[in-house]
């Protein structure tokens, strides 16, 4: 097992190398002159030339890629062309926001989706089953940003019980917290005022972001449970006189693998899928940052953010793979 984990971790290195090459190449293909973007519209040709010289923009692609590689090995992502802040520093602010949001969304998705799927499979063709199938179908057919707007209209405008945007109420100073994990840190340190505000702010974006995974998990749970329940050994167990409830518990264990796969894939995807949700709720996370970076052609930001997101994506997939052996003892690495 340990050998396998080490092997898989080492395997990440070439994957990340290829990824970094692709990302660097793609960003390089995006039209726009970084020197021009950094200095703005009204600069002399000489100043531009000097900036290009200083940033080494005239070097061949591979030379620039090599320099970029040696930089990111030291976790130096350069600095933003527009705000001039180091990308790594901004990353430390943005990443916690997205991790908190997507974790909340996934917990919501797993609890609601998993529960709905289990009950649907248990009481197949009951009213509850039909309702949850219908909700799940709508969930996968819905633009999440639209759902976000509807949630804002209902909970923030009509009922006026939840805030519309941001991570904290305006009167709370984020500087009173050490990290940017507002929700977790305020919970651990017992700053209830901040915790209440952070929790209120995360509910709507979390639900919006978690709805698609919720729907997918509900569908997957239901169908894989039904699949397992149809197996011969299930019939045998029933024939032996086991109660349906006991058989069902076995079935959940056996259906866990496809559910885990879906969970892992969705979680990885959320890191980037947050682009839309973060735009709607003005959530200061990776997705919004990345999108703004692309729109403003802020290349170091784009590279840094994309690389981080893909790294997380690969990491989550690895963890998913490793969970298989915990769930199914037949899987040995």
């Amino acid at each position: 097992m340990l050998r396998y984990i080490i092997k898989r971790l080492l395997y990440i290195i070439p994957v990340l190398l290829i990824m970094s090459f692709l990302i660097f190449g793609m960003v390089d293909l995006i039209p726009g002159d970084p020197a021009q973007i950094m200095l703005g519209q009204h600069v002399s040709e000489e100043a531009l030339e000097a900036a290009r010289e200083r940033m080494g923009l005239d070097d061949p692609f591979l030379v620039r890629y090599g320099r970029f590689l040696t930089d990111i090995v030291r976790l130096d992502f350069g600095e933003s062309l527009i705000s001039k802040r180091p990308v790594a520093t901004v990353l430390k602010e943005k990443l916690p926001a997205t991790i908190e949001l997507s974790t909340f969304a996934m917990i919501y998705a797993l609890l609601v989706g998993g529960l709905a799927g289990v009950i649907s499979a248990w009481k197949q063709n009951s009213i509850f089953d039909y309702i949850s199938i219908t909700i799940a179908l709508f969930g996968i057919s819905m633009p999440i940003y639209w759902l976000g707007f509807m949630l804002i209209l209902f909970f923030a405008v009509f009922l006026n019980i939840l805030p519309t945007a941001g991570r904290l109420a305006a009167e709370i100073d984020p500087a009173s917290l050490q990290t940017h994990f507002y929700l977790i840190e305020s919970l651990v340190t017992g700053k209830w005022e901040i915790f209440r505000s952070a929790a209120k702010h995360i509910i709507l974006p979390g639900i919006a972001l978690g709805t698609i995974p919720m729907a997918i998990i509900a569908r997957m749970t239901r169908s894989s449970l039904l699949d397992v329940l149809r197996q011969d050994y299930m019939r045998t167990a029933r024939a032996k006189g086991l109660k349906f409830r006991d058989v069902f518990v076995h079935a959940i264990k056996n259906a866990a693998i496809p559910i885990t796969t879906v969970f892992g894939m969705q979680f990885g995807r959320l890191m980037a899928g947050a682009v839309l949700t973060e735009t709607v709720f003005a959530w200061p996370g990776m997705g919004k940052w990345l999108l703004d970076g692309i729109l403003q052609r802020d290349f170091p930001v784009v590279i840094g953010a994309t690389l981080t997101v893909t790294f997380l994506f690969v990491l989550v997939n690895l963890v998913t793979d490793l969970t298989y052996s915990l769930l199914d003892p037949r899987i040995k690495y």
């Binding site: 039209p31 057919s141 804002i152 149809r230 995807r269 899928g273 682009v275 839309l276 893909t310």
Partner: protein
């Protein structure tokens, strides 16, 4: 005796019906799939007959009619008489407050008769009479202040070309007031008929579906066939590349491609198409790997069939079922993603009646005019749901071994 006849009949029936017929029958028995087909048929019809169905030009701005709620919308629909001064103010401010807005709208009705006399039937609901209505308005030199925009000739449809030939008949902004046009779903904050925009948006969404799914289908199928049939190094090369594409989150890759190619609907369609390729390649490859071991392929091979014949006549046709399901499902994803790109400002651009763009536009007026943001979303759900329902049904019906 009778049972024997029955049996014969059954056998006869069984022999008669082909695989496709069987699948079709199973599909028709699936109520949800039929519902999906009806929804899609509706969508296609709306898209085809958009110029007939839509009462107005989707990009035409009805000055003075900014943010008109649907007639059946909300509780503010109470009759209020407001002084004329208030009306003028509120129309200039567009839709700052829906209640004032409503006031102006209802008080504007007092002038309806006046206008009706001037321009004949101004309801404009049946599209056939619409251009004529416009003309009669302009020839009347109307003091009603209904402007016709002359700038969007490129996007407006043939039926509405006449709009562009007209001069501007309106007056100053302060003279603008509500027309008595009937807007089924109200107007957006720019004064464009929401229903017409949604109807025309159906065309764009279907086009996005066909073009981008077409790209993924052709390229993905080709790569999958080659990869699965030849195997070896080609297989490894293609599939590793597909894996890398897949390990980028879907929307992120699409954003990147659009950033490289430039914004706009055509590039967004290409981006969505490219992003969809790996899924098709995987599905086809998996199917080819199992089909090529079948005996009939071996038989054809011993009879001297070349690779092209084998792939096109035996392997491809027998890999179709999952491909059909994947195609249907991809339509749903493509429509969702095109709308998402439009929403982010990377897909279709502003005046285009694309659903995602409409949602993005409606954000600024979300609090005062919530209907503008509600209906395009419902349109997206409707079409995506249709494809998902049909896809689910096809998956069940094309695979008879799968128990339901």
């Amino acid at each position: 005796m009778k049972s024997k006849e029955n049996q014969k009949e059954i056998v006869k029936k069984a022999n008669k019906s082909s695989l496709i017929e069987d699948a079709w029958k199973r599909l028709l028995r699936n109520r949800l799939a039929v519902l999906g087909m009806i929804m899609l048929a509706l969508l296609v019809l709306v898209a085809i007959f958009a110029p007939i169905i839509a009462p107005f030009d989707p990009v035409k701005i009805h000055f003075g009619d900014e943010g008109v709620p649907p007639t059946w919308w909300g509780p503010e629909e109470t009759e209020q008489s407001q002084p004329a001064a208030v009306e003028e103010e509120s129309t200039v401010q567009n839709n700052q407050q829906s209640t004032t807005d409503q006031g102006s709208w209802t008080s504007g009705e007092s002038e309806q008769e006046n206008k009706q006399a001037q321009s004949g039937s101004d309801s404009g609901w049946s599209s056939g009479s619409e251009p004529a209505t416009e003309e009669s308005q302009s020839s009347g030199g109307s003091s009603t202040g209904s402007w016709t925009s002359s700038s969007d000739s490129s996007t407006s449809d043939d039926a509405f070309k006449q709009d562009t030939t007209q001069g501007q008949t309106g007056k100053k902004a302060s003279d603008r007031q509500r027309s008595d046009n009937f807007y089924l779903l109200g107007t957006d904050q720019m004064g464009r008929d929401l229903f017409s925009r949604i109807v025309y948006g159906a065309r764009l969404s279907l086009m996005v579906g066909f073009v981008s799914v077409g790209i993924s289908l052709f390229v993905g199928t080709f790569l999958g066939l080659v990869s699965g049939f030849y195997g070896g190094k080609i297989d490894t090369l293609i599939m590793r590349f597909m894996d890398i594409l897949l390990s980028f989150p879907y929307i992120l890759l699409a954003i990147f491609i659009v950033a490289i190619l430039g914004r706009g609907l055509p590039n967004a369609m290409i981006a969505i198409g490219i992003v969809g390729i790996p899924r098709f390649a995987r599905v086809v490859r998996g199917q080819v790997l199992s089909v090529k071991e079948e005996e009939y392929v071996m038989a054809a091979k011993t009879m001297g069939a070349n690779n092209f014949w084998l792939i096109s006549r035996h392997i491809f046709v027998n890999s179709l079922s999952p491909l059909i399901v994947q195609t249907t499902m991809s339509f749903a994803t493509a429509i969702l993603n095109a709308a998402a790109l439009g929403f982010l400002g990377l897909g279709a651009q502003a005046p285009t009646p694309e659903w995602g763009v409409m949602l993005s536009d409606a954000r600024s007026a979300m609090l005062t005019a919530p209907w503008i943001i509600t209906f395009p979303g419902i349109a997206i759900i409707f079409s995506v749901l249709g494809f998902n329902l049909l896809g689910d049904g096809l998956r069940d019906s094309l695979d008879p071994r799968q128990k339901r």
